[in-house]
């Protein structure tokens, strides 16, 4: 078989021929040609298996996801591991969010301008008197903090 015939047989194997050309090749196939086609088929199968095995070795995500309990859904999205690199702008967005959170922490716009009366007595000492700490309902304000009254009654 000449070089032209070999190329034609390869194109036949690859499915590149028109129906008319395919008919012509099939009509002229020899036993030697059939052996070549079988060999090409085996090589293609071996290459495909080798590539699949290599890909499985490189991509560890399905195994990791399975270990982490991610299950089939995680394994079905192996490319997700590249999500952060694919969208580097998310870093800037995160930092801007951080700055906004810092601003809110300082300004605290959710607090009203009306002061609360929250008071914690850390120490209380009296001499010649008895002191009582009373917490009054802070109804005139927002009502979520009591007003503290330190009531002393002196000895006679």
């Amino acid at each position: 078989m000449g070089k032209a015939e070999d190329e034609r047989l390869q194109r036949y194997f690859d499915g590149e021929l028109s129906p008319e050309e395919r008919g012509q090749v099939e009509a002229a196939l020899t036993e030697d040609d059939r052996l070549k086609l079988a060999a090409l088929g085996e090589v293609r199968g071996l290459v495909a298996n080798a590539l699949a095995a290599e890909a499985a070795d490189v991509d560890l995500w399905p195994g990791i996801a399975q270990k982490l309990g991610g299950g089939g859904k995680a394994a079905a999205k192996p490319r997700r591991r590249w999500g952060l690199r694919a969208h580097p702008a998310s870093w800037s967005a995160g930092l801007v969010s951080l700055a906004a959170a810092a601003l809110l922490l300082v300004v605290q716009p959710w607090h009203s301008q009306h002061a609360q009366n929250g008071c914690d007595i850390e120490s209380l000492e009296t001499t010649g008197a008895v002191a009582t700490v009373i917490h009054m309902d802070d109804t005139p304000h927002r009502g979520d903090e009591a007003t503290t009254v330190i009531w002393t009654t002196e000895d006679d």
Binding site: W91, C119, E122, E125, G128, A129, T152, E154
Partner: protein, 160 residues
């Protein structure tokens, strides 16, 4: 470029936190009204100058008195760690010390110490340290004076 934007955002956040911290680092201005509570009679009378205290003076345990008059009012400017001493109407010295700023659950708070002395008996009738919400009020009651009692309020804000 993206790194520069990120660094700028971090720097902005840091500056804002720094500015916020510095703003809280000032002294304190404290309003200390001294009220004379008398038994009175009939309807409760509350001095218009102490309207801010009216909601408290109108209900127990203050309902034992019916006449509330502002005898004195001290406006004290205190640096952190600083004290001011003033005389109560019964000639007892009282000392208010601003111990510093502190933080609470969602509020800015101020730590203060109040001492009321008994000069004749040479002891401290009251010595208390408390942490109060900025702008909030704490009341001390009980020093007898002219057929009534004295009510001393303490309310502080960060000095501007």
């Amino acid at each position: 470029m993206r790194q520069a934007r990120g660094a700028a955002a971090v720097a902005l956040g840091a500056v804002m936190l720094l500015v916020g911290g510095v703003a809280r680092a000032g002294g304190a201005t404290c309003d200390v009204p001294i009220v004379h509570a008398l038994p009175g009679g009939g309807a409760t009378q509350i001095d218009p100058k102490i309207d801010m205290l009216k909601p408290y003076l109108s209900k127990p345990p203050f309902t034992a008195w019916h006449d509330f008059r502002l005898l004195d009012r001290k406006m004290l400017t205190l640096q952190e760690g600083g004290s001011a001493t003033f005389m109560m109407p019964d000639n007892r010295p009282a000392t208010l010390t601003f111990l510093g700023h502190t933080a609470g659950p969602g509020e800015h708070r101020m730590r203060l110490r109040l001492i009321i002395e008994h000069p004749e008996k040479q002891h401290r009738v009251l010595d208390t340290t408390f942490v109060l919400d900025e702008g909030g009020v704490v009341l001390t009651v009980g020093h007898r004076h002219d057929n009534g009692v004295l009510i001393l309020g303490v309310s502080c804000k960060t000095q501007n």
